[in-house]
């Protein structure tokens, strides 16, 4: 097996394991470390796929800035409070079916993409960069040009998605607080 593919699989396993640690760790800081491992592993996967700029920005922005902020807040929080030990909100029963649907969709997409190809997992040519432009592909110039022209709308659109997520989190937390007050 090619060394790159081996590392790709290793990073993938680490990313998934980090995500699981985030979900199931009792202690918030362990969860944050899981998320950090997942992000660094994702950066490794980008680097293997020759997207050097994206890998570096993944490290600078997510691992270097956002995770530091998250851990900073965890340190300042009162982690002994029982509120943080409650694993799921009441909205779990709405969220779970949606998640299941999404999972089915992605598994279906994965199946249609690689199903029937015997070497699908050892052949990364369909995801890796085209051979002739490998030198430029991950470079900062191509990345910046594409980000500010081709993908500008998608980029801004994703940030509105983040905004929606923030609103959702606040509303869920407030729902819990109101429920507790009524009890």
């Amino acid at each position: 097996m090619d060394f790159n593919i081996l590392m790709y699989i290793v990073f993938g396993v680490v990313a998934i394991a980090g995500g699981l640690v985030l979900l199931f760790a009792k202690h918030p800081i362990r969860g944050a470390m899981g998320l950090l491992a997942s992000m660094v592993a994702l950066a490794g996967m980008y680097a293997i796929l020759q997207a050097h700029s994206i890998a570096i920005f993944q490290l600078i922005i997510y691992a270097g800035a956002i995770m530091v902020l998250i851990i900073y807040f965890i340190m300042l929080l009162d982690i002994k409070s029982e509120d943080y030990l409650k694993p799921f909100s009441k909205l779990f029963w709405i969220g779970a079916p949606i998640l299941a649907l999404l999972a089915i969709f992605f598994i279906y997409k994965l199946y249609t993409a690689i199903g029937g190809k015997p070497n699908a997992f050892s052949d990364l040519s369909s995801v890796a960069a085209p051979e002739q432009s490998v030198q430029d592909f991950g470079g900062i110039k191509i990345f910046s040009k594409n980000l500010l022209t081709k993908y500008l709308f998608a980029f801004e659109y994703v940030s509105t998605l983040l905004f929606a997520a923030i609103v959702a989190v606040i509303s869920i937390v407030q729902l819990d607080w109101k429920g507790r007050k009524n009890e």
Binding site: S53, I56, I60, G64, V68, I71, Y72, G139, I140
Partner: protein, 398 residues
């Protein structure tokens, strides 16, 4: 390529491996040298003698002290055999993970820095003072006459950003160590360290943007190549000449980023014992200290690479000196490469010395002064520097 019992891939692998080892050792030796000069230089500044007692007895009643170098060895042995003291209620996993976060980024960032130009082994071993080496010269001339490599471990096209990305992970070392030690002093140190490093990382990055804008590069190899060119036929296009203001901004921000005097509030001995590594003992403490020394050496490395032409010697090209007045002094390939390595090392030594000198000359800032300097002075100035640079470049300067 000529076929031989050592294929080109094997030779590539061996050279990469040797290069990585050499760069790693270089940074390690710089760390060791810094911990020695920290003692000796402070002693000179404070009119003391400094470390000189640890010595190896030689036959004939003499003692080998090597101007205090043996103290480093004694320290290593001492910290290795000391009790590994741990706080009573601490977080085992995070406590031990913190050391890795502090130490690993410090050692691997030098991988993207070129230590010399292109080295051609076949030509390199032809120099008269290297011909005595057995087997190697013949091997390269006979089998790999065209083989050449860059004296740089990893040639990333995003090298400069790689440095920022990896050294950004350093913050976790301070935060986790402070948090997991279960000690108020450690926690204070960790908090101070984290907020200080986040604050100064921004001005550090922005002060370099002007340089990136002028050279249109983030590839460190290309950055050094661009600095080898001459302006008006005599002035090397070093970063210091094109961005003198950014040099000072970057230097101050980098010192603060690495928690050195006068910005060493995360480990202010007179206030919070030893900051985030108060509860570490023995070799673990040594690793924190050593990581700090290596990062200081790395600041010297990056400053000399970005602002002082890296390995380049003014007027030295691949075949010798091209003097600005038209003269030409021919030099062999080996001499050129060795001069480049030497020039790089000397620049790094100079900045290590400068940083130590600053450390022992300036008093510590107060915390609010530190934050004010970072956010209200360095950051606006670096943004201003960037804007002026952009305007000049847009008007056709440089």
């Amino acid at each position: 390529m000529e076929s031989s019992f050592l294929g080109i891939n094997t030779v590539n692998f061996i050279t990469s491996f040797l290069l990585a080892t050499a760069v790693f050792l270089f940074m390690f030796m710089m760390g060791a040298l810094m911990s020695w000069s920290e003692r000796k230089q402070s002693a000179v500044l404070q009119d003391r003698i400094g470390a000189n007692r640890a010595s190896i007895p030689l036959p004939g009643g003499k003692k080998l002290a090597l101007w205090g170098f043996i103290n480093n060895l004694a320290d290593a042995i001492k910290t290795l055999v000391k009790e590994d003291f741990k706080p009573r209620a601490y977080d085992f996993l995070m406590y031990n993970l913190a050391i890795f976060f502090a130490f690993v980024p410090a050692t691997i960032t030098a991988a993207v820095v070129p230590f010399a130009g292109v080295l051609k082994p076949a030509e390199f071993f032809q120099a008269w003072y290297l011909k005595w080496i057995p087997w190697l010269p013949e091997f390269f001339t006979n089998n790999l006459p065209d083989f050449s490599f860059r004296v740089q471990v990893a040639d990333l096209n995003v090298g400069l950003l790689f440095i920022f990305a990896i050294s950004g992970l350093n913050i976790f070392g301070a935060i986790l160590a402070g948090w997991s030690s279960n000690n108020k002093f450690s926690m204070m140190g960790g908090m101070r360290g984290a907020s200080q490093m986040i604050s100064y990382e921004i001005s550090m990055g922005i002060s370099l943007l002007g340089l990136i804008f002028i050279y249109q590069q983030v590839d460190i190899w290309e950055l050094v190549q661009a600095q080898r060119e001459l302006a008006w036929g005599w002035l090397p296009k070093w970063g210091i000449f094109l961005q003198p203001f950014a040099f000072f901004l970057f230097l101050f921000a980098a010192i603060a980023e690495n928690k050195r005097m006068p910005f060493d509030l995360p480990e202010a001995e007179s206030e919070i014992i030893s900051g985030y590594f108060t509860e570490y003992s023995g070799f673990k403490m040594l690793l924190f200290m050593f990581a700090e020394f290596i990062t200081i050496a790395f600041v010297a490395v990056i400053v000399s690479t970005l602002f002082f032409g890296g390995y380049s010697v003014p007027y030295l090209m691949a075949d010798g000196f091209h003097w600005p007045w038209g003269g030409f002094t021919q030099l062999s390939h080996a001499t050129v490469v060795i001069m480049e390595i030497l020039s790089f090392t000397l620049k790094v030594f100079f900045f290590c010395w400068l940083l130590q000198q600053m450390r022992w000359s300036l008093p510590r800032f107060r915390y609010d002064q530190l934050m004010k300097l970072g956010w209200k002075i360095l950051l606006p100035l670096s943004i201003l520097n960037l804007i002026v640079t952009i305007v000049i470049v847009a008007l056709g300067g440089f």
